[in-house]
């Protein structure tokens, strides 16, 4: 490409620097501090863009390395792509993906529901409720998830029966923990309780970010308390909650692989079983990786649109969606032709 030589105008000094760093086409209009030609009007000075030789060299090196890596992925027989493709949509793998999704959804829904209760307790005016919520978060953030999971898995060993009745008094209704806590429910309980501690803090942060004047206005209008929460506070809190919540869901989604220690047939456990049988470790790890990537990508897309929904009213003119942007682009292409 030919370097452009723009003529400096007074506004060129604060012109936006082109984000395309590799091209080196930044139009920087800095005087070198020399006093020569001070009398010339700046509009007549020529601007020579800075040349970033090292940046170009680094860019080239990265490109070469990336190409090499991609080439290796395709041509190195050790990746065993035919094994990958045989297993990536195999029934046992799909079933395992389904289990992983279930664990994620249950963990997220229950975790955030309990997290909401904890966050509200923490923000309530009752020091007792706030203290309990604080202690919960403290405890469940301190205990490693895997320890907690194994604990739930072995609950039957600690308490053989759980029952409902008068506190410290007679039990009205009871059931054996053996039936209550199977491996799957132990996993869901463990993930949800762990998730709740983090969700509580994320939601609390969201509530704190809502301007206090909003609650005051709602109170002055006499809007009932629950309604204030649902209609005024939550939607505004969602803006700061969502990015963090999405992070949590993604890390829970991948974190479900930890329940493989409980012999639950989720994705990671399943590929371990398969490569234990046939010894094809690398392609099967790639199978799991591919599914984790695909589903995380889907979640990111959902996140984008949900965030957009809750941003309504925040900007004077909301930015177009990628789809709208693409349509506008093709329209201009057609018109210019």
């Amino acid at each position: 490409m030919t370097p452009t030589t723009p003529v400096a105008t007074p506004s060129a000094t604060d012109a936006k620097v082109d984000s395309d760093a590799e091209s080196g086409a930044n139009s920087v209009a800095e005087s070198d501090g020399d006093s020569a030609g001070d009398s010339d009007a700046p509009a007549e000075l020529r601007v020579v863009p800075a040349r970033h030789y090292w940046r170009w060299a680094a860019g080239a090196a990265v490109l070469v390395l990336t190409a090499q890596f991609a080439h290796g992925l395709v041509t190195n027989p050790a990746w065993e792509w035919e094994v990958f493709f045989r297993y990536v949509t195999a029934d046992s793998v799909l079933r395992a993906v389904w289990v992983t999704l279930q664990l994620t959804v249950y963990g997220t829904v229950l975790g955030f529901a309990l997290g909401l209760v904890l966050a509200l307790m923490r923000l309530s005016r009752s020091p007792l409720l706030a203290g309990v919520a604080w202690a919960y978060v403290w405890a469940f953030r301190s205990i490693p998830l895997i320890v907690q999971l194994l604990f739930w898995f072995n609950l039957a060993y600690l308490y053989e029966e759980l029952g409902v009745g008068i506190p410290f008094g007679p039990v009205v209704w009871s059931f054996g923990t053996m039936h209550l806590v199977g491996a799957m429910s132990a996993a869901v309980i463990g993930l949800a309780l762990h998730q709740a501690a983090y969700a509580a803090e994320i939601l609390r942060g969201g509530f704190l970010a809502v301007e206090p004047g909003q609650l005051e206005a709602a109170a002055a209008l006499g809007i009932p308390r629950l309604r204030q929460l649902r209609r005024i506070v939550l939607p505004q809190a969602m803006r700061s909650v969502l990015p963090n919540a999405a992070n949590e869901i993604v890390s829970l989604f991948k974190g479900t692989s930890i329940v493989s220690v409980m012999a639950i047939g989720e994705l990671f456990y399943q590929v371990q079983v398969i490569y234990g049988r046939n010894g094809r470790v690398v392609p099967l790890l790639m199978v799991a990786t591919a599914w984790y990537i695909v589903l995380t990508t889907l979640l990111s897309v959902v996140q984008y649109y949900v965030e957009r929904h809750f941003a309504r009213g925040a900007d004077r003119t909301p930015p177009p969606t990628p789809l709208q942007r693409a349509r506008a682009f093709t329209r201009t292409l057609k018109e210019t032709r």
């Binding site: 909003q214 206005a217 109170a219 006499g222 809007i223 009932p224 308390r225 009213g313 925040a314």
Partner: protein, 256 residues
């Protein structure tokens, strides 16, 4: 005028924040349909008084009643029992409050901002609330902005929406806390015009403002507050033009 019944009755109100006594014994009666304008230097307790009237601030001592009903408390014998939040919220629907910085709900449209409280607090049917909101928007000159979001409006327009939102509850009293001081000078007029229009319709109002000309125009009573007490009150012609107290004179000479 003075024959109409007392709508807002403020008796011996004290309010302290920790050791700092901000209101030091306020007595004030506002009659139905009257406009009372409160002026005074910064920090004199004007906002605190307004917030005490609708119980956004709890009183340390004294009482406020609207149309004979205590705000925030129930009296039994010689004791005041604080009401539950739900009852306080219900009584607040009779008191409209317009904030200095509007406090519109940014994620709701203008129309939703206005219909929210009538629907959720007064349980009015949605269609009825919507029609009323449209009529109010028309009255404040914003009929075409019903579906806009607050951030898409100018400050003056936002404050007019906030006034419409307060009016939607058909309050017995409207409280304004410096409704124009967050606005650019050229936007002040449009908001004052709306407030004047509401005053003319016979709504009981208490307005805190620094706009002395406006006070002279709409006030039936002007109240001058300083350091947590009412120093002087009376018709605008007396308090603003022939103040008797030195502190009032000193304040007016600074702001006029």
């Amino acid at each position: 005028m003075s024959t109409s019944p007392v709508m807002v009755d403020i008796r011996g109100v004290h309010k302290s924040f920790g050791p700092h006594e901000v209101l030091r014994g306020i007595d004030l009666q506002v009659r139905a349909g009257e406009v009372t304008v409160v002026i005074g230097p910064s920090g004199s307790g004007k906002s605190t008084l307004l917030r005490a009237i609708n119980h956004l601030e709890k009183l340390s001592r004294g009482s406020v009643s609207i149309d004979g009903a205590l705000v925030g408390y129930r009296r039994r014998g010689n004791k005041l029992y604080e009401l539950k939040e739900r009852e306080i919220l219900r009584r607040r629907t009779r008191i409209g409050f317009v904030f200095q910085n509007f406090n519109l709900f940014p994620h709701l449209t203008v129309l939703q901002n206005i219909t929210e409280a009538p629907v959720s607090a007064l349980r009015r049917p949605r269609t009825e609330a919507k029609e009323r909101a449209e009529a109010l928007l028309d009255r404040v000159g914003l009929a075409d902005k019903a579906d806009a979001y607050p951030r898409q409006l100018s400050g003056g327009q936002q404050q007019r929406v906030a006034i419409a939102r307060a009016l939607a509850l058909d309050p017995q009293v409207l409280l304004f806390d410096e409704p124009t001081s967050a606005l650019d000078p050229e936007l002040v007029g449009e908001v004052l015009d709306v407030i004047k229009d509401v005053a003319r319709a016979g709504t009981t109002m208490i307005v805190v403002t620094h706009e002395i000309g406006f006070a002279r125009e709409i006030a039936d009573t002007v109240v001058f507050m300083d350091d947590g007490v009412i120093v002087e009150q009376g018709p605008p012609g007396d308090v603003l033009d022939h103040p008797r107290q030195e502190r009032t004179k000193a304040f007016l000479s600074k702001v006029l």
